[in-house]
Amino acid sequence: MAWVQLALLLAVVIAITPLLGGYMAKVFAGDRVVLSPVLGPLERTLLRLIRVRRDEDGPIGQDWKAYAKSVLLFSLGSWLVLYLLLRLQGSLPANETDLGAAPWDVSFNTVSSFVTNTNWQYYAGETTLSNLSQMVGLTVQNFVSAAVGIVVLIAVVRGIAARSTDPADRRAGSLGNFWVDLVRAVVYVLLPISIVGALVFVTQGALQTLGGPTELANVTGGTQTLFRGPVASQEAIKLLGTNGGGFFNVNSAMPFENPTAFANFFSMVLVLAIPAALTSTYGRMVGNRRQGWAVFGAMALMFVVLAVVITVAEQHGSPAQHAAGLVTSSGDGTTGGNLVGKEQRFGIGGSGLFNTVTTATSTGAVNSSMESLTGLGGLVPMIGMGTSEVIFGGVGSGLYGMLLFIILAVFIGGLMVGRTPELHGKKIEAREIKLAMLGALYMPFTVLVTTALAVGTDHGKVSNYNGGPQGFSESFYAYLSQGNNNGSAFAGYTGYVQPNGDPDGSFGITFADLLGGLAMLFNRFFPILVVLAIAGSLARKKAAPAGPGTLRTDSPTFVVLLIGVIVLVGALTFFPAFLLGPVVQSLTGHLY
C-alpha cells in the first residue's frame, strides 16, 4: 500500500500543478482571477493601510536593490515584533497555563527560525508558548515568511523574463513591487487555501478552540490534561507555507495536529502544492510551459528515489529491534518494520513518505521521530537538505535555489557544446556565474563550519543526547537543517533544557541557540540577495531568439544534466559527513 500512496500523491500533485500554477501566474501579473470579486476589496484595503508608494501608473516598480531592501526591512520589522511578543507573553492575555517568557537565547533562536521560514524548534510548544504567542506571533510569521519566499521567486523570474531593455522605459530593470506582491501572495494564495485547509483538518479531529486546557478522569483512575488551542488554523499554514513548526512538541505525530491517515495525506498535498505549482508559474512567465514541466520532472525524479529508499529502509527494521529478537517483516494485521517513534495509523509507508515530503521541501514538519530512523532511512532527509532544498524545496526558495543550479547546468552544458551559455535567450556571463557559484557553495560551507564548531567544542557537545555515530548525526543534522531553513531535527539535540516539561527552572543553551539562529538568518537572506542580484543583472540584458545551436533547457537531456549537477555538488560537499553518521550506522549491526 505504501507504493499506492506514493503514486496517488504524485497524481494529485501533478493535477494541482498547472491549475494552481496558472492561478498564481495571473495573481502576480495583477490579472483578474476567480476570487477577485471577493478578495479584491481586501487587497486594496491592505495596500492603502500600509501606504505603498505609488506614481501615476500605480505602485512604483522596484529594481533589485530596492526590492531586496524592502524584503530585509519587512523581515527586520517582523523579527522585532515577534521577539517582543515572546519576551512579554507572561504579561499578555490568552495565556491559559500561566507561562512566563521564554529565555532570551531560546527566543532569539525561535524568532530567527520563524522569520526565516525555518521553524526549527528548541522549545516545546505546549509547555513554552501561550496561545497568544502561537496565534498572533507564530501563525502570522508562518504566513508572511512563506509569502516572502514566493514573491522573491516571482521577482527573480520577472528579471529572467523581462523583455524591455529600452533605457527610455521607466520600468526597465524593475522586478515589481515587493509590498504589492506580498499582499497578493497572502490575500489570493495563502489565506484562502489555509481557511479551507484548516477546516479540513478540523473535520478529521484537529483542535480549533480558545477553550484552554481540560481535565480528563481516565478509565483506570489516572488523569490526563488536554492542552488545547487554535491548532488547525496554524496547522494549515504550517504545511502550505512549508514552515513546519508544530503547535505541539511532537509536531504532526500528535493526533490533535494530524489525526488520521487521510489528514496525513492531505498534509503532504498541502506541502507540495505551492512548490510544485511554482514550476508551472515559472514556465508560464517565461513563455515556455515545457520549461516548467522539465524542472518539475527533475524534482519529481529525485523525490521518488528518496521516498523509495526511506520506505524500504524503514520496513527492514533497525539493528536494535533485530537484536531484541523482533520479527520486522509485515504480516497479518501488523505493519512490521521500524515502528520505534512512529504512529500506528501512519505505519511505515505513511511515516516514511511524510518525512520525505517535508525534508525534500524545506518544511521540516515530522510525523515520527527522525532520530529513531534507521541509518539509511535517516540519510534520506539529510540528502533532501544536503542538495540545498531544491527537490520541490520551500515555497519560492526551492525554485530560486533550483534556478542557481539551472544556471550552473547551463554553464557546464555550454562549455560541453562550445557555445556561450544562455538562459531563455539571455547570455549568462561572468557576473551571473560568479553569483550562482557563490549562492550554491555558501550553504555547504556554512553548514560544514557550524557542524565542525558544534562537534569540535565542549560548548556544542552539551546539546547532544546520544553518543557515537548517532551523536555526530544529531549535531550534523541540527546545522544542516537550520542552515537550509528546514526545521526538522534529530530531536535529541537540544538548545533548551526544560526539566520534566516544566518551564520553571528551565534554561537555554546559549551556544546552540545563537549559532543556529545566526545560521538560519544568514542562510535565508544571503541567497535571497544573490538571486535578486542575478535577476537584476538579467533584467537589463537583451534576449536573443533561440537558434538551432541553442542548448535547450526544457529537454530530457537537460533534466539529466541538471540532476547530475545537483547530485555532484551535494555529494562532493557532504559525502564525508554522510559517511561518519548515517552510512556507518546502516553498514553495521553493532549497538552503541
Binding site: V140, W179, S233, G341, K342
Partner: protein, 234 residues
C-alpha cells in the same frame, strides 16, 4: 528609507491583525458552530464525566499494591504500574501518556538503550499475555506492541496486537472470544480512502465498549456499566 521603514512596520501590524487575529478567530468560529465536538478535542464522556479523547491514547495500567495494601514504589519513589488485565493495553509511551507535554524518545536505530527498552517491553508483554496464549514467543509479538510511539499518546494498536490481547481480555471478563474479537473489529479504523496509512484498533473506544457489554460489569469490579456517549466521532 524612512518611508520604507514605516511601510514595513505598518505591514507587520496590519498583517498581524488579519492573519493572527481575524483568520484564527474566523476558523474557530466556523469550527465551533459546525463541528464543536471535534474542534474541542473529540472528548468521550461516561456518566457525565470526561474520561478521555478518542484521539488520545491513555494508560490502562493501575498502581501496583504491596500485600499490605500500600502503593508499591520503584527505586525512584515513583508508583509502580501494572497492566489492568481486563483492558486492552495501549502502545508503550515514554511520556506517561501525557497529551500536554509530548516528546519523542529519540532512541537511535543502533542504540543499546533502544534494545534495552524493547527488551523491557517484551518481558512485560510476555508476562501479561503468555498465561492466556502458551505459544506466544518474542518472534510472534507485533512490533507496535513493544516499541514506543511517536506522540506518546498513540490511540491505536495493530490488529495483530489486539487479537493476541483479546484472549486475555475474553478470559478475564468471562466473555466468549468471538464477542471480544467482534468488538475489536467494530473499533478498527481502516486505511484512509482504503489505501492510506495502516488500520488501527482504537484502544479507548474498544475498552469503553467492553465495559458497556452486558454481564461484564460485575466481573469488572464495580466499573459502571451505564451507557457511554460518544460525543466525538472518529
Amino acid at each position: 528609507m524612512r518611508k520604507d521603514a514605516i511601510t514595513s512596520l505598518l505591514a507587520v501590524v496590519v498583517l498581524t491583525v488579519l492573519l493572527g487575529v481575524l483568520y484564527p478567530l474566523a476558523v474557530t468560529g466556523i469550527s465551533q458552530v459546525t463541528m464543536k465536538d471535534r474542534a474541542d478535542g473529540s472528548v468521550l464522556h461516561r456518566d457525565g464525566r470526561a474520561v478521555g479523547s478518542t484521539l488520545i491514547g491513555q494508560d490502562f495500567r493501575r498502581p501496583a499494591k504491596d500485600p499490605d495494601g500500600s502503593a508499591r514504589k520503584d527505586a525512584d519513589g515513583e508508583p509502580v504500574l501494572v497492566a489492568d488485565p481486563r483492558y486492552f493495553q495501549s502502545r508503550p509511551s515514554v511520556t506517561g501518556y501525557k497529551p500536554n507535554a509530548t516528546a519523542f524518545s529519540n532512541r537511535g536505530p543502533n542504540g543499546k538503550d533502544t534494545k534495552e527498552a524493547i527488551d523491557v517491553n517484551v518481558a512485560a508483554y510476555l508476562a501479561l499475555e503468555r498465561p492466556y496464549d502458551a505459544g506466544l514467543t518474542v518472534a510472534r509479538i507485533p512490533v507496535d506492541a513493544v516499541t514506543d510511539s511517536a506522540s506518546g499518546v498513540d490511540p491505536h494498536i495493530s490488529q495483530a496486537n489486539a487479537r493476541i490481547q483479546a484472549r486475555r481480555v475474553a478470559k478475564v471478563r468471562g466473555l466468549p472470544l468471538h464477542r471480544v474479537l467482534d468488538a475489536v473489529d467494530d473499533h478498527t479504523a481502516g486505511r484512509g480512502l482504503g489505501v492510506l496509512g495502516e488500520p488501527g484498533v482504537n484502544v479507548l473506544e474498544l475498552n469503553l465498549a467492553l465495559d458497556g457489554l452486558r454481564g461484564t460489569a460485575a466481573r469488572a469490579g464495580g466499573t459502571s456499566s451505564s451507557t457511554t456517549t460518544t460525543e466525538g466521532t472518529r
